[in-house]
């Protein structure tokens, strides 16, 4: 029989509507503007760990159009709006990432993305915390939120200092935690190092984080800056944060990089990494570079996985329980 029915219960479909209504109330009260940006773009995401869906042209097309990309995030377009003078903005939008399917992944999922002018990542963590507590109050009781620097989280929960440990020591810490890993080598470079750190974060730290409360982790290694500003110091850190509840990664935020040259350089580094590991090159978003050259106001931004948030709010074990039609049925 064709599995035509939704995988989410009617009750969960209603919970999503309730979450969206609360979310809009939160931003209306803060006077943050709701916006909408394109889902289909000529530029893609260069990040080596994310693969975009690319469109194909149909055979009888009258015009030659270049392959286009389904957004993996609305961040580039939203930053162009910031540069154009929109003020603080938010939107909820579907995003698409290939090869991501599992208990907590669906190739199409919904992001809540917002930017707050004149905020750094700490101020935005405070606002994200207020947001989570506001939308959660109708669903679940959360205990006091906890905040750890990336370094403290690694030391506390994985027993290793991410800034001073050698790759060999990171590997030993994984073995100690009972992780039997295939495919990571011990060559001491940034790339391998980040892989080991990602392994420890996703398999050891996440599992040991306190439960039933929002947990924020902030100030990441510079090699994992993505689009965050870097704060010089010893060690220098990326002004980036993540939010976890019950070990589920829910949000990623930055004190946003606004320097056009630095942004262009990070795109370039991404391309080199992609080439190095045999991945296809992706046209970088030069509209974003142009907008940053014009000038983007100082701000912090965050992306919240709404489906996962709904999982936490409804106690779902599998993402399919909160999606009407997961990719297999879409």
């Amino acid at each position: 029989m064709m599995e035509w029915q939704p995988t989410a219960s009617i009750e969960t479909i209603k919970s999503r509507a309730r979450l969206l209504a609360k979310l809009r109330a939160f931003f209306a009260e803060k006077d943050i503007l709701e916006v909408q940006t394109p889902v289909l773009s000529h530029a893609g995401n260069t990040e080596p760990t994310i693969e975009s869906f690319v469109t194909a042209q149909h055979e009888n097309s009258a015009h030659t159009i270049q392959p286009s990309f389904l957004n993996t995030s609305p961040e580039f377009a939203m930053k162009r709006l910031l540069a154009a003078g929109c003020g603080s903005i938010y939107q909820t939008t579907p995003v698409f990432r290939q090869d991501e399917q599992g208990k907590k992944h669906n190739p199409e999922f919904t992001l809540l993305e917002w930017y707050h002018l004149d905020f750094d990542h700490h101020a935005l963590m405070g606002e994200v915390n207020a947001f989570i507590r506001f939308v959660a109050e109708d669903f679940i009781t959360l205990e006091r939120s906890q905040f750890f620097s990336y370094q403290d989280a690694m030391v506390t929960f994985a027993g290793v200092d991410p800034f001073t440990a050698s790759v060999a020591e990171l590997s030993t810490a994984s073995v100690k935690a009972g992780i039997d890993v295939v495919g990571l080598d011990n060559i001491d470079n940034d790339h391998t190092r980040d892989n080991w750190l990602d392994l420890l974060m996703s398999q050891v730290v996440e599992k040991n984080l306190p439960l039933n409360c929002p947990v924020f982790i902030y100030d990441y290694p510079v090699s994992q800056a993505a689009l965050a500003k870097i704060r010089a110091g010893s060690p220098s850190v990326a002004e980036r944060f993540e939010l976890y509840i019950n070990g589920i990664e829910l949000a990623n935020g930055f004190h946003e990089l606004s320097d056009a040259d630095e942004q262009a350089e990070r795109f370039h580094q991404d391309q080199l990494k992609r080439k190095h590991s045999g991945q296809v090159g992706i046209p970088a978003d030069y509209h974003l570079i142009a907008a940053l050259k014009h000038g983007m106001p100082d701000c912090a931004g965050v992306a919240v996985g709404l489906d996962r948030l709904l999982m936490v709010l409804t106690g779902a074990e599998h993402i399919n329980e909160v999606l009407t039609f997961p990719f297999d049925r879409a």
């Binding site: 760990t49 090869d99 399917q101 890993v181 295939v182 993540e242 990664e249």
Partner: protein, 189 residues
């Protein structure tokens, strides 16, 4: 043998891990929003039955295991090996004690079993879900007690010891569920 990439991983896929044929029983993608993806995989070693957990960096490839489940008829044992025949090709294979393992006690001549072959060699035997066995030894039956309450141990012609109701007597045929080792009923056939 074919190799498989982590994005082809799914339950039931048979892979060579540390020199042993293994079967994926659980596969979960673990991927930070910004970061390296991994597959957290639970596997059963098809030779030893042991369950192990491995984490693969996504994109890694692993050699497949040439493992096949074949329906075969149990023929006989010479004390060293247990011989099975493919009823279609009449091909015969001998399984050693490790492959037969605890299932020895359910093997009855002419029963159809599932023989797991790795590179053509039997590594595991799965008996039929239900087997009919003859009682060779048990305490005298209590006539009139058909309640089945209590029960007593009974030894069967294959050596299996099964808990049976008090009224069962030596020489009777009983049906046993090999997955639980439990008595199902008298065989009326």
């Amino acid at each position: 043998m074919a190799t498989y990439s982590t994005n082809e991983f799914k339950n039931g896929l048979k892979l060579m891990i540390d020199g042993y044929p293994c079967n994926i029983i659980e596969n979960e993608l673990v991927k930070p929003g910004k970061g390296q993806a991994f597959n957290r995989v639970k596997l059963r070693n098809l030779k030893t039955g042991r369950v192990l957990e491995k984490t693969f960096k996504s994109g890694e490839t692993v050699e497949g295991a040439d493992v096949m489940d074949t329906d075969m008829q149990y023929l006989y044992t010479d004390g060293e090996a247990w011989y099975f025949m493919d009823p279609n090709t009449f091909e015969q294979v001998g399984a050693d004690e490790t492959a037969v393992g605890d299932n020895l006690k359910w093997l009855k001549e002419q029963d159809m079993c599932v023989v797991t072959l790795w590179n053509g060699v039997p590594i595991a035997i799965t008996p039929p879900n239900f087997v009919v066995l003859e009682i060779t030894e048990t305490d005298p039956g209590l006539r009139g007690d058909t309640s089945g309450g209590g029960g007593k141990p009974a030894t069967c012609n294959t050596g299996a010891v099964v808990r049976v109701p008090l009224f069962i007597e030596i020489g009777e045929m009983i049906k046993v569920d090999t997955r639980t080792g439990e008595y199902v009923g008298r065989d009326k056939g």
